[in-house]
Amino acid sequence: MFEKVVNYCRKKSPWLLHVSCGSCNNCDIEVLAALAPRFDVERFGGVLKPNPRHTDILVVTGIMTLKMTNVLKRLYEQTPDPKAVVAIGSCAITKGIFAETYASYGPADAVVPVDAYIPGCPPRPQAILHGVVTALNALWGG
């Protein structure tokens, strides 16, 4: 019974950390647009937090560029459990249009274990919200 309550509270207050690892900042702006009044993410309790200590969902965009990969690894380790990773945009899923570039270690799941993928270039803010909420239900929905 206690586990159900805690999982319910985790589902209802997802604190997000947005990490951009070499994206064309269109997905980053759509993540910020998800905060704007039209697609308000705070309806689901979501808040964009400044540092990994306070967050439990890592929102990752972009192809993992050479310099940004170990930064993402460190951020992933600094986030306290239980945590989730959502990869946004076709760059984070399959390196998208930059597939043959020399300057990338691979899509998001080559660096950190990813729980939810949101395709699109850029995915619309509704799609981002839908992806985050489905990830929440899958992880702690019960």
Partner: protein, 361 residues
């Protein structure tokens, strides 16, 4: 106590990864180390392996929020090499979408600047009004940002009669709201306390460091590609080039907000001019591209976008060199931050409207 505070690759104030090591004595900034390259995707190498048509889509994905500037600069360079003159209507179509993008990009910046100095409400208001512009862009081009509007020799889609009335009503709303935001930025006492007098870039440094765009114009260095090297249909519409002298954060905010009003004026004149031109005549077929080289320049919301294209007669470009406006503006950041307190660093960094994905390519 002097300390090194790192505005690291991941920071709430910067949407993209870039590292700034700020050496401070107490709260006063003494030296700034800038480290770029966290967003480097090797686009110039990719551009050489794709054909000219594929390159337009690749070049569009250099930067998400100025996704009209790179394709226009690139296609203009290739059209110069091919010696092709694109139809009059195509010039107007490109200009309308370019100015719509300037409006939504400047609104985006104003929201993020308000968020950084602490007024979250202004961020929410401004980004709510930005959605109207994005709706119009989506109705006309099909996507909120990556429009795929250009091809070599003209445009791929047309603005028909039924697009224009909703566009003009949206512009009225945006114009009225922008005047309200200009009033808010200028009269709110706490905003003035944070923006006036911080991050000063004198005119001499702006010229010596060859800064471009609103950052240069706010310091009195009049650089505007739309006036210096008129491309598209900018020489057929009249608009004011806004040049202020103070060079602090408030001046940069003023330049951008006033430019939104100018863009609204340009779009109104362009939609009037389009009515006269025949519909459908929007592109000229380009058979093959002779060997040669040329330079495409375009006034993006952040400054001058510069494309140097060299072709060797085949369908693959020999060399594509891209220089985004933030590449030269970012070198002016250390001179701006000298002497300010630690609290001014994020807002001064954001005041050049940095687009690190453009800088690193």
């Amino acid at each position: 106590m002097d300390m090194v505070v790192q505005f690291g690759p991941q920071h709430l104030a910067l949407a993209e990864p870039e590292r700034f090591k700020v050496h401070t004595e107490g709260e006063k900034v003494v030296d700034v180390e800038v480290a770029v390259g966290y967003n480097h995707r090797g686009i110039e190498k990719l551009a050489e392996r794709k054909t000219f048509e594929q390159d337009i889509l690749l070049v569009e994905r250099i930067c998400g929020i100025c996704s009209m500037s790179h394709p226009v600069a690139f296609t203009q360079a290739v059209e110069d090499i091919a010696g092709v003159d694109i139809p009059e209507r195509a010039n107007y179509l490109r200009m309308i979408i370019a100015e719509l993008e300037r409006i939504h990009s400047h609104l985006l910046w104003a929201g993020i600047a308000a968020e950084i100095i602490g007024i979250e409400t202004l961020f929410m208001y401004i980004w709510k009004d930005r959605e109207y512009v994005l709706d119009q862009l989506e109705i006309i081009t099909g996507n909120r940002n990556h429009y795929a509007w250009n091809t070599i020799g003209g445009c791929r889609k047309d603005i028909t009669e039924k697009h224009i009335p909703p566009l003009l009503t949206a512009l009225e709303v945006v114009e009225r709201r922008t005047e309200y935001y200009i009033d808010a930025f200028l009269r709110n006492r706490t905003i003035r306390a944070r923006l006036v007098g911080t991050g000063i870039l004198p005119r001499e440094d702006a010229r010596k460091l060859c800064t471009v765009g609103p950052t240069a114009r706010a310091s009195g260095y009049a650089v505007d590609v739309r006036k210096d090297d008129p491309h598209l249909a900018y020489d057929k519409v009249d608009f004011a080039e806004i040049v202020l002298g103070e060079g602090d954060n408030m001046a940069r905010a003023k330049v951008r907000l006033l430019e939104i009003l100018e863009s609204v004026k340009i779009i109104r004149q362009a939609t009037k001019a389009i009515k006269g031109l025949p519909e459908g005549d929007i592109a000229v077929p380009v058979a093959e591209i002779p060997p040669g080289e040329s330079v495409g320049r375009y006034e993006a919301p952040r400054g001058e976008v510069f494309h140097y294209v060299k072709s060797n007669g085949t369908f693959y470009p020999e060399r594509v060199k891209v220089r985004a406006p933030t590449y030269s503006n970012i070198q002016a950041v250390p001179t701006m931050l000298m002497g300010d307190t630690l609290a001014d660093v994020p807002i001064s960094l954001a005041s050049i409207d940095p687009c690190f994905c453009c800088t690193d390519r």
